[in-house]
């Protein structure tokens, strides 16, 4: 392997979360391995795991790169309780996440309107899981909290960026175009307002 590929391997090994592409680029710039580019080194590392028979693989996710174990060993690892798979999300939680992913930033009232069910408890638990966060406040009555997905969402759903989700017009039923023009994929949404309790959001679902 080239020196840069080895350096990247070490960096990726040292991190428990995906290493942002920017961080890797910075490392590559300092490594002074003039011959190899970051992209070629990553590809080299990926092929190294791919071809030489390894238990791990290099995965591009959430705007960065990460070394993950291969799926075929998951059960064996779990059996001896070295690691446990995270719990699945409920259908209601997934629906809420899907709506937020496409319509962010979005307030609670709008989510409830689409799903036809109260969303307070689900929003709270999704936020606790770090999948969504408050990204601002709306203009409307009571300045409702607006939610957006986090980079942890991308990570847990094996997405490189939000654009990897099917575009609205690619879905079988294309109805409303998603409101977001250019979703920020790599940077997690910056919480503007303090994520306190959702107050003044009691806008009734009138339609």
């Amino acid at each position: 392997m080239t020196p840069l590929a080895k350096l990247l391997e070490a960096a990726l090994f040292a991190s428990a979360t995906p290493v942002p592409a920017d961080a890797l680029r910075l490392m590559a710039a300092h490594a002074e391995d003039g011959e190899t580019t970051l992209e070629s080194a990553l590809e080299e590392l990926r092929l190294h795991y791919e071809n030489d028979g390894h238990g791990v693989e290099l995965v591009e996710v959430a705007g960065g790169w990460q070394i993950l174990t291969r799926p075929e060993y998951t059960e064996a690892i779990e059996r001896v309780q070295l690691a446990a798979r995270p719990q699945r999300l409920s259908a209601a939680a997934l629906e809420t996440l899907a709506i937020i992913a496409y319509r962010q930033p979005i307030g609670r009232a709008e989510i409830e309107e689409i799903r036809g069910v109260g969303a307070g408890a689900i929003l709270k638990s999704l936020q606790e899981r770090g999948l969504i966060d408050v990204v601002g406040r709306g203009e409307g009555l009571g300045r409702p909290l607006l939610y957006g997905t986090t980079s942890s969402f991308l990570e847990q759903f094996a997405l490189r960026h939000l654009e990897e989700l099917p575009r609205a017009d690619e879905l079988a039923i294309a109805l409303r175009a998603p409101r977001h023009a250019g979703p920020t994929a790599t940077t997690p949404p910056v919480a503007v307002g303090a994520p306190t309790k959702d107050n003044g959001e009691a806008a009734p679902r009138a339609d």
Binding site: A14, S15, A16, T17, V59, V61, Q66, I67, L68, T69, R70, P71, T74, I77, E78, R79, L82, A83, A84, R85, P86, Q87, R88, L89, S90, A91, A92, A93, L94, E95, L97, A98, I99, A101, Y102, I114, R115, G116, V117, G118, G120, A121, I122, K124, S125, L126, E128, E155, Q156, F157, A158, L159, L165, P166, L171, A172, I173, A174, L175, R176
Partner: protein, 255 residues
Amino acid sequence: MDDVTTIHSSSLAVADSAASEVFVVELAEYSGPLDLLLTLIRDEQIDIYDIPIARIAEQFLDRISSLKLDEAADYLEMAARLVRIKAQMLLPRREGEDVWEDPRAELVRRLLEYQQVREVVDVLERRSEDRRSRFARAYTQAAVQLPVAGPLVISLPELLSAVDRVLRLARKPHVHDVVPRALDVDGAIGIVRALMAIRARAQWKDIVPRKAEPWEVLSLLLALLELAKRGELRLAQPRAFAAFEITRDPSSEAA
């Protein structure tokens, strides 16, 4: 191993476990009234753009009462909406009115929108399964440990000279004799009063004798403060670090 399998099978209602204060109705079968409605439409193989609203409304009501869901406000709201649309459908259409607006249109729009959400959920579910089947390195910050010192390498003379150095540094404790000589504040008050009886104003140096013992100085100081507190005299300092002036308090004189 049985534990592991049970964890996997209990996939429902994870997200709502945190909500203790809110009553949340969530079944494994339906994630909401729209889901139930969509299921009915799918089961009956109905064209979503032409829903036989009377039939669907009836089935919806049947289903929620059989599931004991009739208490859940969200389901009830949908039931009410269906009944209202049904009523609107029964109203005779007026001749000559330009466009007849289908009362079901809003419901259809919502159902289609919801179906889109379900599609995305399928994608998310696949993705999440893919990710769940891989582990990242479980990095935990190790507790900070101080480096353990190795065995001491030192010769006997070195050790002895070190001991000597320590002993020389540790000087003998300074033994101090405490002479019991209590402050005589009452006596000092007498002195100050006597002086102020003959003088209208005085200064510190007038009161304290030249070669006063510390206890005398302290007694006089406390006496002055005491008398000032009682209001018999006034202490004033014209400016910082200047000698302060002691004057008889005019108000106490009057009294």
